[in-house]
Amino acid sequence: MGGVLAVLGIYRAFPLVHGSQGCANYVKNTLAKHFKEPVEIATTGFYEISAIYGASDIIESSIKNILENRNPDLIITMTTGLSEITGEDIQRELKRITENIHEDYASNNGTYFVGVSTPSYKGTHIDGYNNTLKEIIKTITEKNKNKNKELGKDTLKSDKINIIPGFVNPGDVKEIKSILRKMNIYYRLLTDITTLDRPLRLPKERFPKCEATVRDIEESPNSKSTLSFGMEGIDGAKYLEDLGVPSYNLKFPIGIENTDNFIRTLSNISGQEIPESLWEDRGYAIDAIVDGNDVLRNKRVAIFGDPDKVIGLTNFAFEMGMEVVAVLSNTETSYFISEIKKISMENNGKITLFEGSDLYQLHNYIKRRPVDIIIGDYRGRYIANEERIPLLRVGFPIVDRYGYHRKPILGYNGALRITEEIINLLIESSENYENLSIL
C-alpha cells in the first residue's frame, strides 16, 4: 500500500504489483474509496503455475503490456508476500528483463524500471512508502549518473530543496507547496500525491498531473538539501545524503510548534526571510485555539494512526490545552515509544501507550476510562458509534466521508482546520436538543 502510494505520487509512473490479483485490487479499491479518484494498479497475475515454475515470464510480459498500453516514464514492480516467499530475487529478475526489453524496444530507452521488495509480512504501509521511494531514487540516480558520465556532462548544483512529504493527503501537499511559495523557495517534491485529487475536466487526463516528475528525481542529487518528516521517507533522504545532499529530518509540521520549526528550518536552509503572510496564518490558527479554549481545555483525547502523525497530533493536542490519555500506533518502532514518553513527561501527562496493537484493545481501554474525542482514521467510527464519542477523521483511509483527502493536517492551515473541527465536534456532542426549551 505504502509503496503504491509513493509510485502514484510521481507523474507518469506506473505501479505493478507482483502477486495474486487480489493483492493489486484490494489496494486499488481502498485508494479509490479514500481519494474518490480512479486508480490504476497493474497485477502480474500470479497463479499456482507461477508458484511452481517461477514467475519471471509473467513479470516480463507484464512490463511489455504496460509499455504498449500506457508507455509510462517509470514502472515500479513491487513484490508481495506471495511472490517473495517463492524465493525469487526481484532485482536480479528485473535486471535481466530490463536488458531484454531495452533490446526489444529500442525507442523506449527512456523508461526506468524499478524493483522493490515490499512483502506484506514485513512492516506496514509506512515502511512500504519509505523503501519504495528509496529504491526509486536509487535506481534513477544511479542510471542517470552513468548517462551523464557518458555524455561527459557535469550537472550543476541548484538552489532547489528536495521535499519528501511522506504518506500524506493531497491537501497536505498543497499546504506544503503554499508555504514554500510564500517563502519564495524553489523546490523539488519527490512525491506529490495531488495526482489523486484532480479537477474534473474533459477529456480525462491520460496520467493525472502533479509536480513530482521523473526528471525531478533524476536531478534530486543536485539540490541544495533534502527535507523529510519522521521515518516516512528518511531512507531516501539518507541515500541522497550519501550523494552529497545534506538532509534534515524534521517532525511533521503538525500544530504550531512543529510548523514553526519547519518554517524556521526552511528559512535557515534557503536564507529566505519568513514572510508576513505566514505570520498571519500562524496568528489565525492561534486565534482559533485561544477562542475555543473553554471548549478545548482539559478534554481527554485518544489518538491512533501512523506513528509520526500520532506524535505530531499528540503534541498539538497538548498545545490546544487538551489532555492526551491514550495513543496507538499501527507501526512498531522503538522511536515512537521514546517520543511519546518524552511528550508525556513534558506535559506532565500520563499517556497510555498501545504499540503494534489493535483498535479492540483501545476500545476496551475507552470503555474503562471514557474519552471526550477520538482522533484517527475512519475505523475509529466503530468505537465512536458504540461509545457515543465524536471522532475527528484524519489520516488514511477515510472511506465513509467525502473531502477529507483535501483537508490538510500540516502547516498553520492544517492546525486551523483541526482546531475548528475539534471544537465543533465537542460542542455538537455536548448539545442536547431534547432538553432545549424555546421559551
Partner: protein
C-alpha cells in the same frame, strides 16, 4: 467505434460482437477463450480466490469469528471491502519470523483466544497465499482446535493464487459449508412451504426483503445463504422442500450438491426487475403447489402500487444507453429489466469472470453492435464507456470514480442505502438511474 480484433487478440477483449462482413457473426463468436487467466500487466477488476471465499460468501455469516491466516494486508483489505460488512476483523498477522519458525502454533493460539473472548457459534479459518505456499497443516490444526473448544472450526483452503478468478473461492466456500448442513436440532418442525434462498442479494437487507416477500405468499425461508445466515440456519437447510438459486455463479454448486445428497430440487429465481420478480414468484408457487390465485393477487397488488411511477420512468428513460459492468450473473439479471421494464438500450457489457455459458446467454440478450468485454483492464473499460456513448454506467463501486472522471453518470449496481430487490426495490433502482442521468451537473461539464 469497435475494437480491432488483431490489436486486442491477447488483451482480454475476447469477445467482439459486431456485424461487419470481416468480423465473425454473432452466432460463431468464440467464447471459449474467456474466463481464463488475467493477462499479466493488466489493471484488472478481478479479485482472487480468497476474496470469493471470504468476502463474497463467508463473511456474511453472523456470529462467527472469521479468522484470516495471513499477513495484515489480506485481512484488513477484505474486512471492509463491502461496506455493509460489520464486525471485528481477525487475523493471525503473519510476520517474517512466523514464516521461518512456523505459524501453526500461532494460529492454534489465535483460535483458542478468539473463542474464549468472543464466544462465537463457529470459527472460520481462511488460508491465504503464504500459508498456502508453505503448506501448513491447517486441516490438522483446525480439527484439533475444534475438539478442544467444542464448536465447529472450519478451514477454507482458499489461497489467492489457486484459481483464475474469485469463482474458485465460491466453490471452496460452498464445499466446506455444505459439511455443516444436516446437523440441525431434532425438534425442528418443518412445513410444506420451507425453502432456502441461495446466493441471494448482496446484503442482509436484501435477504430480508426476499424473505418478507416470500412470507406474504406463505413461504418460509429457512436460510438465506449466506446473506442472512447463521450456523444454526445453515444446519437446517436440508429440511427445505426446494432451493431457490438467485446467483447461479456463486451458489449453483451448493444447490447441486444438496440435490445429490438430500434430493432437494432447485429452481432459479431472480427478484430484480418487475418481469423477473413476477416470473420467479409464479415458478416458486408452481414448485410448491401454492394456490395460483394467491400469487397472481399478490403480483397484481404490487404492480398496481408501483404502476404510476414505473410508467413515468419508462417514459423518461426510453432509449437511454446503459453500460453494465458487473459479475456475469448480475449482468445477466440486469439486462432484461433494463431493456423491458425500463425501455433502455444496452450500450455495452463488461464482466470480470463470466464463463463461456454466461457469455452465450448475454450475447443472446443484446443487440449485435454491442461491445462485450471479458475481464477488461481500466484502459479498455475507459475506452469502451466513452466510445459506446453510454448515458449511464451501472457497476461496482471501484470503477465509480473512473466513470465520473469521464463525465458519465454512475449508479452503484448493488444498491447502497436503498435496496433494488423486489417490486419496490426496482422502483428505487429506476429512481437512481433516472436521477443520475438527469442531474444538472452533467450539462455543466463541457463549459
Amino acid at each position: 467505434m469497435l475494437y480491432n480484433t488483431e490489436e486486442n487478440c491477447n488483451k482480454n477483449i475476447l469477445i467482439e460482437n459486431r456485424d461487419t462482413s470481416k468480423a465473425k457473426r454473432q452466432h460463431d463468436i468464440d467464447t471459449s477463450s474467456c474466463c481464463k487467466y488475467t493477462q499479466p500487466g493488466n489493471s484488472t477488476e478481478r479479485l482472487c480466490t480468497f476474496h470469493g471465499c471470504r468476502v463474497v460468501i463467508g463473511n456474511q455469516i453472523k456470529n462467527v469469528v472469521h479468522l484470516v491466516h495471513s499477513p495484515i494486508g489480506c485481512a484488513y483489505y477484505s474486512w471492509d471491502y463491502r461496506s455493509q460488512s460489520y464486525g471485528y476483523g481477525f487475523t493471525t498477522g503473519i510476520q517474517e519470523r512466523d514464516i521461518i519458525f512456523d505459524s501453526e502454533e500461532k494460529l492454534y493460539d489465535a483460535i483458542l483466544k478468539a473463542s474464549e473472548e468472543f464466544n462465537p457459534d463457529a470459527i472460520f479459518v481462511y488460508e491465504t497465499c503464504i500459508p498456502g505456499l508453505i503448506g501448513n497443516d491447517l486441516q490438522g490444526i483446525t480439527k484439533k482446535a475444534s475438539e478442544e473448544i467444542e464448536i465447529p472450526v472450519i478451514y477454507f483452503d482458499c489461497a489467492g493464487f489457486k484459481g483464475a478468478t474469485q469463482n474458485e473461492g465460491h466453490k471452496i466456500a460452498n464445499r466446506q459449508l455444505f459439511e455443516i448442513i444436516g446437523n440441525g436440532k431434532e425438534e425442528f418442525h418443518s412445513t410444506p412451504y420451507d425453502v432456502n434462498v441461495i446466493g441471494g442479494g448482496s446484503s442482509v437487507k436484501e435477504a430480508k426483503i426476499i424473505e418478507n416477500m416470500l412470507s406474504k405468499i406463505g413461504i418460509r425461508v429457512l436460510c438465506s445463504f449466506t446473506d442472512n445466515a447463521t450456523i444454526d440456519k445453515i444446519r437446517v437447510m436440508d429440511r427445505a422442500k426446494i432451493n431457490i438459486v438467485h446467483c447461479t455463479k456463486s451458489s449453483m454448486y451448493l444447490a447441486k450438491m444438496m440435490y445429490k445428497e438430500y434430493g432437494i430440487p432447485y429452481i432459479k429465481g431472480n427478484f430484480f426487475g418487475i418481469e423477473n420478480c413476477s416470473m420467479s414468484l409464479r415458478n416458486i408457487g408452481k414448485a410448491l403447489n401454492i394456490d395460483k390465485d394467491k400469487i397472481e393477487n399478490f403480483i397484481a397488488e404490487n404492480l398496481e402500487r408501483i404502476k404510476e411511477k414505473l410508467e413515468l420512468y419508462r417514459e423518461n428513460l426510453k432509449g437511454k444507453r446503459v453500460f453494465i459492468s458487473h459479475g456475469a450473473q448480475r449482468v445477466l439479471n440486469y439486462i432484461d429489466p433494463l431493456k423491458n421494464d425500463l425501455n433502455m438500450d444496452i450500450a455495452g457489457v463488461a464482466t470480470y469472470f463470466g464463463n463461456e455459458k454466461n457469455y452465450k446467454e448475454i450475447l443472446k440478450k443484446i443487440p449485435k453492435e454491442t461491445v462485450v468485454l471479458d475481464n477488461p483492464n481500466s484502459y479498455e473499460l475507459e475506452r469502451a464507456i466513452v466510445e459506446s456513448n453510454a448515458d449511464v454506467v451501472i457497476s461496482d463501486n471501484h470503477i465509480r470514480y473512473l466513470v465520473h472522471k469521464l463525465g458519465v453518470p454512475f449508479v452503484y449496481g448493488r444498491g447502497g442505502k436503498k435496496s433494488y430487490i423486489g417490486f419496490d426495490g426496482f422502483i428505487n433502482f429506476a429512481d437512481e438511474v433516472h436521477g443520475a442521468i438527469n442531474s444538472k451537473i452533467w450539462k455543466l461539464l463541457n463549459n
